[in-house]
Amino acid sequence: MGAINIENLTKRFGETTAVDDLSLDIADSEFLVLVGPSGCGKSTTLRCLAGLETPTAGDIYIAGDHMNYRVPQNRDIAMVFQDYALYPHMTVRANMRFGLEEEEGYTKAEREARVEEIAETLGISELLDRKPDELSGGQQQRVALGRAIVRDPEVFLMDEPLSNLDAKLRAEMRTELQQLQHRFDVTTVYVTHNQTEAMTMSDRVAVMNDGRLQQVGPPLELYHAPENRFVAGFIGEPMMNFVEGRNEGDRFVGTYVEYPFDATIRDAVDGADDVVLGVRPEDVAVDTADGVDESDLGDYEFVMHVSVIEPHGDQNVVHLNHPGDTSESDLLHALTGGTDIFEQGSEVVVTIDPSHVHVFDGESGDALHNRRIGPEAEVTNV
């Protein structure tokens, strides 16, 4: 069936290495999202899978067959492009039929029937005789999907298919794509730079940066147990807070904050010199500082200063600074409930629970310690 194995894939363009020694196994009918910032090599990986680029080194197998030297049409794949790439001079019907013309075993009538059937499923039957430029963005998107589905491939490859849609339509199409994928049960590799799409749609997410695979796993594993600082920062919105400092054995010492390590963390970070403390904005608890004396504060509590508030309605993003810090950049961002309003410029007490703290190595960025969930719970079971 449509399982994909990528072994030590490397792709260079002249001097630049777009993909560096990437190995990845994708199970049959899995929905895998390749995510990363622009230029991280995710699209190149997809294009190697499609056969639009030839790998410099490494092997690609689809359904157990070696693919490196096969032209795209013999790979049994279908691809959806970011700009949809609908043939502008053909009607929707002709667009969808185009790929079928090269497939064997269809009569003319069967081809027509197949096109109509898929158009019905996607709700674009009434658009069949229109040209692409008479369609809205969402409709074009559907036609592009239809053109891919109609050929009944082993693998769907999607290159940022939703990025040209407006936010509302994107959310709708996200759900619809997921449903379609379940329905046709086809292995799907989906490239995006949008981490919301990665989190919500995928069975597994593969994060790439600088041509290298950073981590592969179910979305929540990546969220709660990132393997390095890059993954921790990339997954999650607003981004995880990072505070740089030193490991002094029993405590973290940064420019403005000191944070005591408990026994578990102490063991995990043992030996590291420079460390980075990571904490998600929703794990930063904020409370008013009215009537609180500095000396009453616990080990995990700090007095901070609210520099900016971004209200979102359901929640507020609070930008926090240390009172002694005069620089422009914020020390921490915190997420608070929509009704917890803090005044800009006011003093607040910030609490960071030690069980929510991640610690990364300052040099390599590797995760030394990830947050704990429940007493001994495995993070992957969340």
Partner: protein
């Protein structure tokens, strides 16, 4: 609609305000330039419609009056040129279609299909553009006359064809020469257009299983219709108006297969002097086919220029 229309009333005060020296200067300059460009054209048309006597007596810009007016010049010029028109079109249309089609194919191969040594071929095409025609005239004439006398080989076949005579075969080498020398510029024009097309179209077709030739036929060719308009007009004008190759390969205005550009210098010239009326008539008649092509392809032309290729 029934509203009082204060804004359509001419505001005299503001009009006066707008009139200043710079503005007047601007308009005077514009009118001068229009006159500069239109006067020769007007003179030409007027001359074409005047008798020889009227040309000598009246000022060139003045319209013909009374006795001085005649259709005779046009009639005479048409008689002189009618054979040449057929020859020219018989030569220019296949030559244009050939060079445009091959140019577009070459551009497709050089931009949208990847293969080794592409750059070297592109450079060859570029060299082809800058090759001066004068440099190849002698070898060209020797090739078509001595080494590969295609015209005389084809003459018997041409005699049997309807509407054609054996001498029309002399135009075939000219057609092939024009195609060959037209391909480089057509290729470069199409190349810039193809580079502006999204590469995902061709990639989508590849994934859909289309072969290189099917992608050209079904996707690239239909999409490049506007560019075909531009290149077709350009190339037709070039080939129709070309003189040097025609002069070299057809040899003279007295031959029956002579094209318009060969006949034109001879029309209206005789030992008794030059008949300007006839010459102007012939010149305007000769320009008509290119004008027709421009009008016929105007829409494609505008679209092609707009899409940024040309």
């Amino acid at each position: 609609m029934s509203q009082s229309t204060p804004d359509t009333n001419i505001d005299v005060a503001s009009l006066v305000e707008d009139v200043n020296l710079a503005r007047i200067g601007q308009y005077v300059l514009v009118i001068l330039f229009i006159g500069f460009f239109l006067a020769p054209l007007e003179t030409g048309i007027m001359t074409a419609l005047k008798t020889n006597e009227a040309v000598a007596r009246t000022i060139p810009l003045a319209p013909p009056t009374g006795e001085g007016f005649t259709w005779g010049n046009l009639q005479f010029a048409l008689e002189q040129l009618s054979g040449a028109f057929f020859n020219s079109l018989f030569m220019a249309i296949p030559a244009t279609i050939g060079s445009v089609l091959f140019g577009s194919m070459a551009a497709y191969g050089l931009t949208m299909v990847r293969w080794r040594g592409q750059m070297a071929f592109l450079i060859l095409f570029l060299v082809g553009i800058f090759l001066p025609y004068q440099a190849v005239l002698v070898p060209l004439a020797r090739f078509w006359n001595n080494i590969f006398p295609l015209a005389s080989m084809l003459a018997p076949t041409f005699e049997t064809l309807p509407y054609l005579q054996d001498y029309h075969s002399n135009l075939v080498p000219l057609i092939i020469t024009h195609i060959a020398y037209g391909i480089p510029i057509c290729t470069i024009l199409f190349r810039s257009y193809y580079q502006s097309l999204p590469s995902s179209l061709v990639e989508a077709a590849k994934i859909d299983g289309a072969s290189v030739s099917k992608i050209y036929r079904r996707i690239v060719l239909p999409i490049s219709k506007p560019m075909f308009g531009v290149v077709f007009i350009y190339q037709f004008t070039q080939i129709y108006n070309e003189f040097l190759f025609a002069f070299t390969l057809i040899t003279g205005s007295d031959t029956p297969e002579a094209v318009v550009t060969l006949i034109l210098p001879a029309v209206g010239a005789s030992t008794s002097g030059i008949d300007f009326g006839i010459r102007m008539s012939a010149a305007f008649l000769a320009a008509i086919p290119t004008l027709i092509i421009y009008v016929a392809f105007a829409e494609q032309f505008a679209k092609g220029l707009r899409t940024g290729g040309g």
